[in-house]
């Protein structure tokens, strides 16, 4: 289902070396963006030769895509964990928000995604979108549908659109804890100290989202 961006050789090397390469590459890409990341530097920092790197990945782009995909799988696990819990649907949303607060700060992964949308990587971007969103889209939609089935969530809203709105909110929140631009924006909206008021943020967002999704009592 999801296309592999590395060459088979990459899968044959020791897990340790593989991790090292991915972690160095993740850091470099997330810190400098795609264009400003130096492949030769990644090689040096990862303790492998450029030649080897090019044995593992055809191009800089393929390495980048691999790094992104590896990140997707991590996010997937977090989401999956919340999804599997037996809290009521709306409580799960709170768990997701708290998980975002916990994991997004300084998250290289999230910063990585922040840079993907850049038009300079148009084709690359499109290629990632499906892989990347496929995961959360599936889980969020599932959650919404379950909620609707159980009467927790209003039936008069489209599951896809509701999931889209949820992800919009969560994605923005992730960026707001990970990328400087969005941190600043968060402060402009919610106050200079907002990044230190996690419980307040959770409370407010939960209130907002719950009202948005809850079956309207009348």
């Amino acid at each position: 289902m999801e296309h592999l961006h590395c060459k088979p050789t990459f899968l044959n090397i020791s897990a340790q070396k593989r991790e090292k390469i991915l972690s160095v590459a993740t850091r470099e890409f997330s810190e400098n963006g795609f264009e400003n990341t130096n492949i030769n530097l990644i090689a040096k920092k990862a303790g492998v030769s450029v030649g080897s790197l090019y044995k593992y990945f055809d191009t800089k782009r393929e390495l980048f895509l691999t790094v992104v995909q590896a990140g997707i799988r991590q996010l997937e696990q977090t989401l999956e964990f919340v999804y599997q819990s037996d809290e009521p649907i709306l409580a799960k949303l709170e768990s997701v928000i708290r998980s975002i607060q916990r994991t997004s700060r300084d998250s290289e992964l999230i910063r990585l995604y922040g840079g993907i949308s850049a038009q300079e990587n148009a084709d690359l971007a499109r290629e990632i979108a499906r892989d990347m969103e496929g995961v959360s889209a599936r889980i969020y939609k599932e959650l919404i549908r379950q909620g609707q089935a159980q009467g927790e969530i209003r039936p008069d809203i489209d599951a896809g659109m509701a999931a889209f709105m949820l992800d919009n909110i969560f994605m923005s929140l992730q960026f707001s804890y990970a990328c400087e631009y969005y941190e600043e924006r968060f402060r402009v909206y919610a106050g200079e100290d907002i990044l230190d008021r996690d419980d307040f943020v959770v409370g407010q967002i939960v209130k907002f989202v719950k009202s948005a999704l809850q079956r309207q009592e009348e």
Copy 2:
């Protein structure tokens, strides 16, 4: 309040030449991203010499910032127009959404912003955030407060956080109509034809946002 990123000389040249430079630069930056945009090419396409460009802007970065700021003022006007109308608060939100659908498609401006968050421009990003968000933050907060004062909007939600949530949704929506990555993501969530179902989208989002903000009747 907002720091000027061009040199004074830029303000002395003919309005026509100034517009030409900004429009060419906007197109180039939005199409290629910051890194992949060639200053010399902008000069050529705008019909000025590189030397002149560097008389107007200290660096590529400053030109970029100027382009972004010019864009902000445009957005500001759209928002301001909606804000000034005498519709009820919640109807204004619908106007904003429709305005997003009308103006964001193929919007060079929005694409430009999509690329800003890239970490490669970390410092640059932060610098833009205040200018950029200052505008909408002010207007959205104002709207929320008015709505709360008039009883249309629930009083138990923080105006800043509510404005933040609104902007999260609107910003994501803008990207979803302007940048390939987000277009794709939109399709993944809401169906392959979602970009052609504007009324449906408006209806769903309005429903979502209204419930989220509306005073809960009981």
Copy 3:
């Protein structure tokens, strides 16, 4: 007399593998030239490891030289065959020309030689010259001398120089049927369809060479 360019190990492997390596290498070198030919690719296509290739040949250069020498032996056989026939001397020349037309088209071997003279391989080139030309030089000189002894060829011309002139003509002709550059040149001189007029070409060259070599009747 002729120095061996491979290591002894190359002679110990199976004839089949040896042939495979030589045929792949011949194709690659003739298609891409010396510099643009990739040793690792030859190894892969020939079904041996690079390591082995370097067990058989010290350097890329030695492999190339071996390929060239193997080719020389093939050419030698063709020439030898004509030489051994019992046609009159001048008829043998026609046989050589026809043989060139038959064998040079798309000949990897000839293309290979076309690339040798390149100065980038100065030392390499010199090294090949003796081996390569030793063969035809010997046969052509022999032919001339026999012709002179039998009165068919004028005695007032130096056998070495005459052989040299013959080879100049034949070599140029070979390239004209094998290498794009010389094909084009042939067309420029003799018309766009010259490569399809083999009998015409033979007739003209025979006429030219015969007059040049024949004892002048008076």
Copy 4:
């Protein structure tokens, strides 16, 4: 008629700098061949920046083509000079041979051509062929036709094919004085000291060519 391979900017710089670049490039290309020639080194040796070089020529290939074309014009002039003289046709051929002996030794130009036929430059080669051979083809054919008209040259030979044979001989001779491979080959055929016996060589070739072309007396 002949396509220009440099950018217009190259024609705007000082003749001195232009000459310097061409002479350095000619030397480098003829000594190392196309592949092994380093553009950055040419820039340094010519006293210009790489950036400038790339302002004058789009690619390494274009620089190479320009160098080759500049050489063609030089050869053209030599040939044209002989052609314009009022010697009898067959005497002109002797002049050409002597001119080859005089100019080809260590000729970077001829070495350059020696490397062109290499298959590695297939497309490049074809592109040069027309320009390059157009010149001599035209002059040689003209000479032959004049000779035929004046009764000096046999009428029963095709002018194009005769010109082709002449060029084959002259081209081979040029290489034999300029490229190591062909020098060696020359020695193999005509003796170790052949490169020092210019008059002998002239005499033999003239004899050969005259007989080949002369109207047969009977």
